[in-house]
């Protein structure tokens, strides 16, 4: 293979592994590069790995074979620094269950666990607990019905998270209906 073609193939492998979030099967890459011979492909990979990645201290990545495929990953000696960088501002994740629960509380507040569970169609004890821990909701009182269930409402932290000044800034259901229910306008010209 001439050096130019080799460079181009290495660049392509890097780009496609970069874009893929999952390991890519070597067979797919070979087909893509028009290579029939596994040995030839291995040679390309060896050049890429050795000359471009491992032996270059200015590179932060390396090739990894895993899950039946090839993947670009960061070099292990950078682990500590990367961990430090990414834990500083690691975003907390809300599950879809928590988001659904939160949306019901935001729009229906105050709401009881039973009301939430009924609307979602599943027991919502877990997400309510989770939201309480994250301080996105709080108990504001008790509903005057048998069992005196707790009433949940959103907190000031909730507003901060979602960048709202006050609850009235939440899009209204009318606005949403308008936005979501626009049907294809019927044609007058048919």
């Amino acid at each position: 293979m001439n050096p130019e073609a080799l460079s181009r193939q290495i660049a392509l492998i890097e780009a496609l592994l970069f874009v893929s979030k999952e390991p890519v099967e070597p067979g797919r890459i070979m087909e893509f590069l028009g290579l029939d011979d596994i040995e030839e492909f291995e040679k390309v990979l060896a050049v890429m790995e050795k000359d471009q990645l491992l032996d270059r201290p200015e590179r932060g990545l390396m090739l990894k074979r895993s899950g039946g495929g090839l993947q670009l990953v960061t070099k292990p000696d950078l682990h500590d620094e990367l961990k430090q960088f990414f834990t500083i501002k690691q975003a907390t994740k809300l599950t879809i269950a928590s988001l659904e629960t939160l949306s019901i509380i935001a729009y229906r507040q105050p709401a009881t666990l039973t009301e939430i569970s009924l609307m979602r169609g599943v027991n919502s004890t877990g997400p309510v607990k989770n939201l309480l821990q994250k301080k996105l909701i709080k108990i504001t009182g008790r509903k005057q019905v048998p069992g005196l269930p707790a009433l949940y409402a959103t907190t000031p932290e909730f507003l901060v998270y979602f960048g709202l000044n006050n609850l009235s800034e939440l899009p209204s259901l009318e606005e949403l209906t308008e936005l979501f229910e626009e049907k294809e306008q019927p044609s007058l010209f048919k």
Binding site: A91, L99, S103, R120, F162, L173, F180, Q185
Partner: protein, 243 residues
Amino acid sequence: METEFSGYQVQTEYFEGPLDLLLHLIRKNKMNIIEVRLSQITNEYLAYLEGKRGLNPSRESEFLMTAATLIYIKSRSLLPKPENMDDDSPEKQLIHTLIEYEKIQKISRMLREMEYTELLLWRRLEMNESFANREYELKEVSAFQLAEIFFDIVKKKEYEQFLEIPSKNYSIATKQEELLALLAHSGYLDFSEYISKLDSIEELVVSFFTLLEMVKRHLLIAVQEQLFGTISLYRNEPGKLEN
């Protein structure tokens, strides 16, 4: 030159709306937008409407409303000469809107080119990961999405309780009763809102003719309160429009 803006062109299979069509006619006639006499292109505009050539099919009510405005402008121009076109004449207003719209088209073209350049660059993890695992990052969730989620829940609920609507037969007589009942209830009817809520073409056609019939028989008054505003329908009550 043709290919440079091909990205913008490919999707322009039809005129986005009345302004798009008007600008096209102005350019086609090599008119200057500042000095254009809209009455001169009214016929061409109407010809497009009749031929339905390249009109965005979901925008017909807007094309029609502008047609009404153009006819009005033309009828004014046929009247004994008004000394000056005053600044808030419908023609001046429409021309102003056209000038603004021309800018929007320019910006759109620029954004299209920028988009094209950017789409050549691939970023990591673009495969919509957050939807694959049904998790949103809190940081990225907007109030809008929260509302969207709630809306989905409500919709799902409504759907569960939804029973099949039996198909109806529409007649002008029953439609008229329905419209009068609606008007008695809310005082007026927003034309485009009303037609957008209809279930079938059949109902739409019947409604449209019923409305026309009622306007013709002076049971209803149709008012367009501002240029490009929607058409409002009122019951014709004595004294209603006299002030």
